[in-house]
């Protein structure tokens, strides 16, 4: 019944060692003062004129000032309304002027003559004294006078209103809507603006602000740039950013103080964005860029390779936003499990547990954003009962793009930890069948756990390498391939990516992705009445892992890109540096942490329009590990293949092969090209083609003999032998394609080669 108080163990009081220290008042004050100091410089031309006038005014006879014992507000408001206090003696009359301007009539001309105004003030004062009635005696007025003087003598630093002295005017001119703001609000607004203009840098920016910025980022950016320029030049004593000399930077003489580095990044980007105007004479853009790269590496602690990639990927203005966004965690999001509950009920239940949440956005009907929670969100009874799943917002997208229909056969090729899989199940309402595959057996445990917890009953969980999948099973209506990737989109989640990746890693994963995407495509059944779709997605933002892979798939298979059905996100690249991609890559979608406030993500949706693998003719097959006899096939150009029907035994063979295929694959029973059998059936017609093609140029007995005989020999145990053949073949093929197609000669030569190879192999086979 509760813990008993133990007097022996004394509980420590006060903030713990790790309690984060809040910024104290001193810090705030310090900021403020520095700003004020710069404020003096920020006088606009008008303000300067006015200041000059004011100095003159100061020397004016005292009687006027005496006449107005209380500055400022003369009407009824004066009883409660206190004018802002001033800070600098020098500015006294000005601030008075200012305050009047601000509070009474904003529209008044600023050039208004000082004297009349003061007269007016005097008059008002008189009026006031009349109003106040007979009580007001002369002495009292004098007293007032004295008080006021005292006030003026004091240096009030903590006065926010005073901040408006110099540049307030400008601000107001810019934003007339700020009229009815309190001085403190205005000050805050100004500060925010300043911050914005100085490249969003401070780490303590909270998420909401970030979001806000994100939204209007795009529209603003242009105007912002200009603004930035003006303000920045005002702030910095030195207007021009000077590129440190080469020796300086080489020797490491550059300051490594983070603040200066940050400032340098800002200035550098400023220059680079407006290069022709702001460059230093005789300095090349490359020099600026290399300095910037170095600084970014230091400041954000990335390795050079990744920064370089990112610099290629983003315009400079966006780059810093992206890097900053990677320092901040994305909001925690959950997905309602509609198999068990409704979003409204779930939200209510969680709110009752002290969770602060909101709907995710218009685009999702099941997502909720968790702002903060008094209970661990991953262990509430609702979570355990399977009412929701913790899932990043970006993970919703591929499944939404996949839009699985009820009763379909869906494959999730790399499913761990089962978030997307369960979302698919929920969209299908537990009908049809989902095959959840993952290459990692350990990670499959979480898939099983999650699927059971969420009440998914239509799933089969298996543990294959995705690259072998079409061999295992095919004929899927839809396939989701969430490929393993370098994770450059989720740096916020896993900062290790910053330093651990290099070119080889990217290319390695790109290669794996290419293999996976082909096998994923081969698993799809194009003849499916409702489907035939493939979603390819990664949590990487590298072009090599996304557009390049997609483009590769487009070339290798009978697929086309279709709109993803996601109405936001940025279009994929159609050209990037040395790469030129298919124009339809516009239909793919990219998501970035800084612009969409979700993990960096890429989604592409394919529609497969034919089960035939175009491999045979153009040597596409050789990329696939299994289908390997393509080597010989590649020799003959594509177009000639179908026309040629001269060889008689070839078609016969095809038929035989096809029959084989049919009997082999269980799923292939239904249709000729149903995909289970596809693998086999591929080999069937392909071999036939091989035969045809090689037979076509009837050159030398060797060729004919070799090729015609070969398939028959191979069919029993193609794979073992073929691997070795394939290697040589593919290498050769590459050379060949480079050289261009000069069919006859090539064929002859290659035929010989192939024949030799085969000759070597036959005896072994037997």
């Amino acid at each position: 019944m509760g813990r008993k108080l133990d007097p022996t163990t004394k509980v420590k009081r006060g903030p713990g060692k790790k309690a984060r220290k809040q910024k104290g008042a001193e810090v705030e004050l310090a900021n403020f003062i520095t700003e004020e100091d710069t404020g003096a410089k920020r006088l606009s031309s008008r303000a300067r004129k006015r200041a000059a006038k004011r100095v003159q005014n100061l020397k004016k006879p005292e009687d006027i000032t005496e006449k107005q014992p209380k500055k400022g507000f003369s009407d009824e408001n004066s009883k409660w309304l206190k004018p802002t206090k001033r800070k600098r003696k020098m500015d006294e009359p000005e601030s008075e002027d200012e305050s009047e301007d601000q509070w009474e009539d904003e529209d008044e001309e600023e050039e208004e003559e000082k004297a009349p105004l003061q007269k007016k003030g005097g008059k008002r004062q008189e009026k006031k004294s009349v109003e106040l009635g007979l009580k007001n005696l002369e002495e009292e007025e004098d007293d007032d006078d004295d008080d006021d003087d005292d006030d003026e003598e004091e240096e009030m630093v903590d006065d926010y209103g005073a901040d408006d002295d110099g540049s307030g005017e400008e601000e107001e001119e810019e934003e007339s809507d700020g009229d009815d703001l309190l001085p403190i609000e205005r000050a805050a607004k100004k500060e925010k603006k300043l911050k914005e203009s100085m490249a969003p840098s401070s780490d303590d920016d909270d998420d909401e602000e970030e979001e806000e910025e994100d939204e209007d980022d795009e529209q603003k950016s242009d105007s912002e740039m200009d603004e930035e320029d003006t303000i920045q030049t005002n702030i910095d004593d030195v207007d021009n950013f000077k590129l440190p000399s080469a020796e300086e930077s080489e020797e490491g003489a550059l300051s490594l103080d983070l603040k200066t580095v940050h400032q340098r990044i800002k200035d550098n980007i400023d220059v680079l964005c407006n290069f022709s105007a702001k460059r230093e004479e005789g300095k090349a853009r490359v020099e600026y860029l290399s300095l910037l790269r170095k600084d970014l590496c230091t400041y954000y602690s990335y390795n050079e390779f990744l920064i370089e990639k990112l610099m290629d990927l983003f315009p400079l203005s966006e780059l810093v936003d992206f890097l900053e966004a990677n320092e901040i965690q994305r909001p925690v999001t959950i997905r309602t499990n509609t198999l068990k509950t409704r979003r409204r009920d779930l939200a209510q239940a969680l709110i009752n547990r002290g969770v602060n949440l909101d709907p995710l956005g218009k685009w999702s009907k099941v997502g909720l954003v968790i702002y903060d929670s008094s209970v661990p969100i991953g262990a509430t009874p609702e979570y355990l009962a399977g009412h929701y799943m913790l899932q990043g917002a970006s993970s919703f997208l591929p499944v939404m793009a996949l839009s699985p229909q009820e009763g379909e056969l869906v494959l999730d090729m790399s499913s761990a930890p089962g978030g997307k899989t369960s979302y698919i199940a929920q969209l299908m309402r537990n009908t049809g069948v989902i095959v959840a595959n993952d290459a990692n057996a350990d990670r499959l445990k979480s898939v099983v756990g999650n699927l059971h917890r969420l009440g998914v009953t239509n799933a089969v969980v298996c543990n294959y390498d995705g690259r072998q999948f079409p061999k295992v099973m095919g004929g899927f209506d839809r396939v989701l391939l969430d490929a393993p990737c370098s994770g450059t989109g989720v740096i916020a989640k896993d900062p290790a990516v910053k330093t651990s990746k290099d070119e080889a890693d990217i290319l390695r994963s790109a290669h794996l992705q290419k293999e996976l995407i082909l096998s994923a495509i081969d698993s799809v059944n194009a003849a499916s009445p409702s489907g035939g779709y493939l979603i390819y997605c990664t949590c990487s933002i590298m072009v090599e892992e996304n557009e390049w892979v997609v483009d590769y798939a487009l070339k290798k298979r009978n697929v086309k890109l279709v709109p993803t059905g996601l109405d936001f996100g940025k279009e994929g690249f159609t050209s990037f540096k040395k790469y030129r991609f298919h124009p339809s890559l516009k239909l793919t979608r990219r998501f970035y942490p800084h612009s969409h406030n979700m993990d960096g993500f890429f989604v592409a949706k394919f529609k497969k329009f034919s089960n035939v693998i175009p491999s045979a003719s153009t040597g596409k097959e050789d990329e696939k590990t299994e289908a390997s006899e393509a080597t010989e096939v590649t020799e003959s150009p594509k177009k000639t293949a179908p026309k040629n029907k001269t060889v008689k035994d070839a078609p016969a063979k095809t038929n035989a092969q096809k029959k084989n295929a049919k009997t082999n694959g269980a799923a292939a029973k239904k249709q000729n090209f149903k995909t289970k059998g596809q693998q086999d059936s591929q080999t069937g017609p392909k071999k036939a083609k091989i035969a045809k093609m090689d037979g076509e140029p009837v050159k030398g007995d060797q060729v004919k003999k070799g090729t015609v005989e070969k398939p028959a020999m191979k069919s029993p145990d193609q794979t073992k032998e073929s691997k070795t053949v394939k290697k040589d073949g593919s290498r050769f093929e590459k050379k060949q394609t480079k050289k261009g197609k000069t069919p006859l000669k090539m064929k002859n030569r290659m035929g010989k080669n192939a024949f030799k190879k085969m000759k070597h192999k036959w005896p072994k086979n037997k």
């Binding site: 239940a349 399977g386 059971h452 969980v461």
Partner: protein, 180 residues
């Protein structure tokens, strides 16, 4: 993966009937298709025929789970129900126990249900009868065995155990590795 033997079927159904009684029939004869039990690596999976057919594509060592896992046979050939079967036990349960919100958390950490945490209990629950445990919001939390009959429950002191814990949904997190 293979169908259950006669003996295995008997052991499992006996176990199941402790919780859902004759409602077992509803599990096997379903209006939305034929469902069946299959044994795979000592675990019993419950799935529709359609999934069963597809699952034949996968080799034994590569297949991890099909449909819903109901439980496993121990080495001594007894059957142990897993929490994963809860989805099918809860709707058909004959005897239920509701726990108070305060005791929810305790039960989810694997503790028995005490009298003090007992919200409601089905009338006429016999001692050692299998019961499904619900939260007061009617969310199934797990199952167990009634330690006392309903009549006794009224009399016992608040700290005595009324339901022995067998499985709870907290196991989805606590023992994720052993679920299948």
């Amino acid at each position: 993966m293979r169908p259950l033997t006669e003996e295995e079927t008997k052991t499992m159904f006996e176990k199941l009937s402790k919780y859902i009684g004759e409602n077992i029939k509803l599990l096997v004869d379903r209006p939305d298709g034929t469902y069946c039990f299959r044994l795979h690596q000592d675990r019993v999976f419950y799935m529709s025929e359609k999934i069963l057919k597809l699952a034949t594509n996968f080799s034994r060592d590569k297949l991890i789970s099909v449909g819903t896992c109901f439980g496993k046979f121990t080495k001594t050939k007894k059957f142990r129900l897993h929490i994963t079967a809860l989805d099918f036990l809860a709707p058909y349960a004959k005897f239920k126990v509701w726990v108070k919100p305060g005791a929810e958390q305790s039960f989810l950490y694997g503790n028995h249900v005490l009298k003090s945490g007992l919200g409601r209990i089905t009338e006429n629950t016999m001692q050692y009868q299998g019961v499904v445990v619900y939260s007061m919001a009617d969310v199934p939390l797990g199952f167990g065995v009634a330690a006392k009959s309903t009549q006794e429950c009224r009399r016992v002191d608040p700290m005595s155990i009324v339901v022995f814990h067998q499985a709870d949904v907290g196991e989805f997190i606590r023992s994720e590795e052993t679920l299948t």
